[in-house]
Amino acid sequence: MTAFVVIVVLTPREWISAFLGYAAILAVALAFARVPPRRVARGLAIEVPFVLFAVLLPFVGHGPDNWLGLSIPGMWAAWNILVKATLGVVAATLLASTTLPVDILAGLQALRIPSAFVAILTFFVRYVDVVADQYQRMRVAQRSRGFTASSPRSWPVLAHGLGALFVRSFERGERVHLALVSRGYEGQLPVPESSGAAWPAVVLPAAAAVIAMVHALW
């Protein structure tokens, strides 16, 4: 998926038909993977600050203006930011929707990300739901005894809850470490095997590369 984004970013902004081609293969992939449009829209929300910045460029840019008085270089710059950011965000949403966390971990290991970092992420993937469940149970227990977080006066209760959660997680970390060393752990997690399910990571960059090459040769 990184390869797809790199190809998109390296494509000259004037190659409009190439960008249309990238958008078309992304749309086909999204439809094939049955990613709900709402999820794509949620992913695009992260782009909003860049959109605001890009919208300003035609008004503040220098150079020749068009008949509306908008700067033509500014419009190209805005187009460049918008199209590349949008394609990048949609591709990332597709990756997140079609790739299991275990495959992302395997990918990070293959990219030679430091093993301590991969180990921390592995444990995060495993325990985020466990800690979230603990937090939910704590909230139910708080509400069951009449607590509602409605004013700053409730902040100490929330802070104590988060503190308790931290202490419990720390203690769990110690117990997990005992379980790790009991089964021969010596500081290195075994390399996780990819499930091989992340097809967009292969198909998308290949299709994008073909489009870019066809456009360059045309």
Binding site: P101, V102, L105, T122, F123, V125, R126, Y127, D129, V130, R172, R175, V176, L178, A179, L180, V181, S182, R183, G184, Y185, E186, L189, P190, P192, E193, S195
Partner: protein, 240 residues
């Protein structure tokens, strides 16, 4: 003897004496229940059996090896320690990866076959690609046992294996543990489970062995039970 403890003592850094002069031998194939009130030192003793806690006093021998820095890795390969909370035991993203963790660390052969056999032994082969968080508590407990069965250990050490299990899961666990052919030491408060699985019981209280004998005889002696703060469920009593 597969397990041999001689004069083992352990004091925690805060000064709490957890074990004092514990001497205990377990023969190959025996199933022994380790009983006692909370804080008696049962879990501390279990952690000595695979060298997670080194003996400060006395010696520990496992499968003929004197436990020490040179042998601790070999001993851990032979002792499958199953912790009380399966969420502590299952730390990898999928069931299959977790069951493969021990064999991969010890560089054992046929990891895939070991994973398959261990999961089949606990009836969880269909869960191999599932994240542990998506399993029920009873299923996670069974997978936790598979994580050590995959190493083909000589000794299985279980810490409170029936805690938080519903009656059906408890029965299924008993069936699984009866079927596996290993020496077993089971830390438990569940006296009826101990009676069902373990002909021999050891009672630890105040860090020392206070009783070592037949489980049935212990459970039929109300005076002994009272002395060690052990209780059968309401309405249950055994004829002497």
């Amino acid at each position: 003897m597969v397990i041999d403890l001689d004069g083992v003592g352990h004091t925690y850094p805060d000064g709490t004496v957890a074990l004092r002069n514990v001497t205990l031998s377990v023969a190959k194939g025996e199933r022994v229940a380790l009983l006692g009130p909370n804080g008696a030192g049962k879990t501390t003793l279990a952690l000595h059996l695979n060298g997670v806690l080194p003996a400060q006093e006395g010696v520990v021998r496992v499968a003929g090896e004197l436990l020490g820095p040179q042998t601790v890795r070999q001993v851990r390969r032979q002792v499958g320690l199953v912790f009380q909370d399966p969420d502590d035991q299952l730390f990898m993203p999928t069931v299959g990866q977790d069951v493969a963790f021990g064999p991969m660390n010890f560089k054992l052969d046929d990891v895939a076959g070991r994973v398959q056999r261990a999961l089949r032994a606990v009836g969880m082969q269909a869960a191999v690609d599932r994240p542990p968080h998506h399993l029920s508590f009873g299923q996670r407990r069974r997978v936790a046992i598979a994580t050590v069965l995959s190493m083909d250990p000589q000794i299985l050490v279980l810490d409170e294996p029936t805690s938080n299990l519903d009656p059906a899961s408890r029965r299924e666990l008993a069936d699984i543990l009866t079927a596996v052919d290993v020496t077993m030491l089971m830390v438990t408060h569940d006296l009826l489970f101990a009676w069902q699985l373990c002909p021999r019981s050891v009672v630890l209280a105040d860090g020392t062995v206070q009783y070592d004998g037949p489980t049935r005889a212990l459970l039929a002696d109300p005076d002994l039970l009272r002395r060690f703060r052990l209780e059968l469920p309401f309405g249950v009593s055994l004829a002497p």
